[in-house]
Assembly symmetry: C2
Homo-oligomer: 365 residues x 2
């Protein structure tokens, strides 16, 4: 593992970090990477972590060093940042459409192995048009909707038809099936993918990779003969939604938001310096906006843009909380938080490691 | 007004902008600035626009050119960007706490007129400690909670007490009262502020400025002898929440998010390339995530990180919408959207003006 250590002077991050700040504990990151890698190996999956959670080449490299065979990006812009940093095997799990993006995609394939996906003839036609004269064919997977109701073909027959369309299209090669399954539908997804694989094989096509993803499902899945590759994302940081789902504990959460209490207007209320521009309004089924770590009776009840508003969950009120205190928030959803900060802070326990640029933040194109 | 025009070649933005993209129509921006300035002048208020909505010095300058006497920032980092761009009169409507920020604040006051606020003795003590040896005293307003339940002292008596604390504190000067009123509580806020003004005057203090804010309230307010300054923010762009509140119409909305349909998995569903990392999950009381402009029967029903999921509101289904189509989304909340994009695109009607950096994006510290 190539992640940096704290230096020998052992500076405490408390003395070096102003708020609001995203803290990422690399000790926890390393544990999370190792545990996920081991779990995938036990299940016989190759690992292709989704970097949308962290958007940092250094962490992608740590995932590769631990045994991942490549990474996954959601947007072309993320892949460009990762290739620039030297990562050379990337699945972009997104329909890439339009002349501008296709030209960027083609340029990227000159520098690294890039695999993409498609769920319609329109997407396949665009890719084929762009790659018909390419030196080597573009690898294209069929995106399958196995229950999440997002993108993806919705039947095994459609999957096989689109696979054949890719196979026949100039400049393209069919390289497998890809899904993002609904939580707790792991088995349903496997049945779906098994039928699609069979339909492809009946049509005379090899299905070299069948890729699934999602952190919550990873520890529920059992070994099977269908899935060959897994794309976990959130596991590297984890967050409150994963704690609530039972997948992990608070100790497994690497990312927290350090805040300062800036106002204590009444006995019952306090405001911190992190609002929706630091945490986002994602609730993920919760009634509030994050866990105030170490303060089980305090609720982060609402957010304005630059303030979070704390209330007491009990008649005890907010107790000793006073202006100037620092509090750590475990956000509902880590992936959107790391997308808000240009820079975060790597720590190890109480110790400062380094400030870190989030190089692919905001790469939505 | 100093905003750029489209150039003589009149290029259509449709040919120049890839998605997802934030489009800001400067024709609408100019109308919005002029209308708000006129309204405030009719009411006898000086204008100090809140730049948290746009975070762009060029637009702040246009607000000043139209007659604003200064600007408002919510965070010190925003003010630093604005001062760097040459803006020299800024209210930071936020409690500034801690040695690191106080040192930055002090450096900023060497370059521009900076006013801050406070709602507790803790904040006043910190400011005084930092400015006791300053060449000129720091102007400090008392933040008042007139009904919003955010920050601010909660009674007129507390306001007068804190005003006196500021008046007596070395390095500080008391410069007025500031509130952000709850919508539809304009009159209640005015009564509150009138009582606080009287309490300050009874204690022998002048109250040179009484500052209120909020776009929704601006067109409901009537002339009064209390408020002297107004800090509207959202009015420069407007958004779906302001349309829903009845304050403006869709034609008054300058900001939209241009997206491409990337998937059409079933007759009833489509996915666009803007999700919570482009629009945020802010609902502001809506059941969904934005208005699909020109398509009243289509609902932006849910968001994943990089996809928005469209459904039909009627039995007619999604009709002719197909992969590759572009759609414009009016977001629920413009301020958080402009905070997600490093660059946006200025247009005038159908014409491209320029790509624009959002210089104070992410300045949460």
């Amino acid at each position: 593992m190539s992640l940096p250590k704290h230096n020998s002077s052992k500076q405490l991050w408390r003395n070096l970090v102003d708020t609001p700040a995203v803290l990422v504990d690399l000790n926890v990151v390393e544990r999370n990477i190792a545990r996920c890698q081991k779990r995938c190996e036990q299940l016989g999956f190759t690992v292709r972590p989704h970097i949308k959670t962290h958007k940092i080449p250094l962490l992608a490299q740590a995932q590769l060093d631990a045994g991942a065979m490549g990474i996954t990006c959601q947007k072309l812009g993320e892949a460009e940042v990762m290739v620039e940093a030297g990562i050379d095997d990337i699945l972009i799990s997104y329909n890439i459409i339009g002349a501008a993006k296709l030209a960027r995609l083609k340029a990227l394939t000159e520098k690294a192995r890039i695999i993409v996906c498609a769920d319609s003839g329109y997407v396949v036609a665009g890719l084929s048009h762009a790659f018909a004269d390419a030196k080597k064919p573009l690898e294209v997977m069929v995106e399958c909707d196995t229950g999440m109701n997002r993108c993806g073909v919705t039947t095994a027959a459609e999957a096989a038809n689109l696979a054949q369309e890719i196979f026949r299209a100039p400049g393209l090669t069919f390289s497998g099936l890809m899904t993002y399954p609904a939580a707790d539908q792991g088995n349903e997804a496997i049945t779906w993918l098994g039928q699609a694989k069979e339909a492809c094989q009946k049509a005379g096509l090899d299905v070299p990779v069948i890729s699934s993803g999602g952190t919550p499902d990873l520890f529920k899945l059992t070994a099977n003969d269908i899935i060959t590759e897994y794309r976990p994302g959130s596991y590297i940081y984890n967050d409150r939604s994963l704690v609530s789902s039972g997948a992990v504990t608070e100790d497994d959460c690497a990312l927290s938001v350090l805040t300062t209490v800036v106002s204590r207007p009444t006995k019952d209320r306090a405001a911190i310096d992190a609002g929706s521009k630091s945490l986002t309004s994602d609730t993920f089924g919760h009634a509030d906006f994050g866990t105030v770590l170490g303060h089980p009776n305090i609720q982060l009840a609402s957010l304005s843009e630059e303030h979070g508003h704390l209330k007491s969950k009990s008649t005890a009120g907010l107790g000793q909380i006073k202006v100037g205190d620092t509090l750590r928030i475990l956000p509902n959803h880590a992936c959107v938080v790391s997308n808000l900060f240009d820079h975060i802070t790597f720590v190890r326990g109480d110790y400062f490691v380094k400030h870190q640029t989030v190089a692919a933040r905001g790469a939505v194109k």
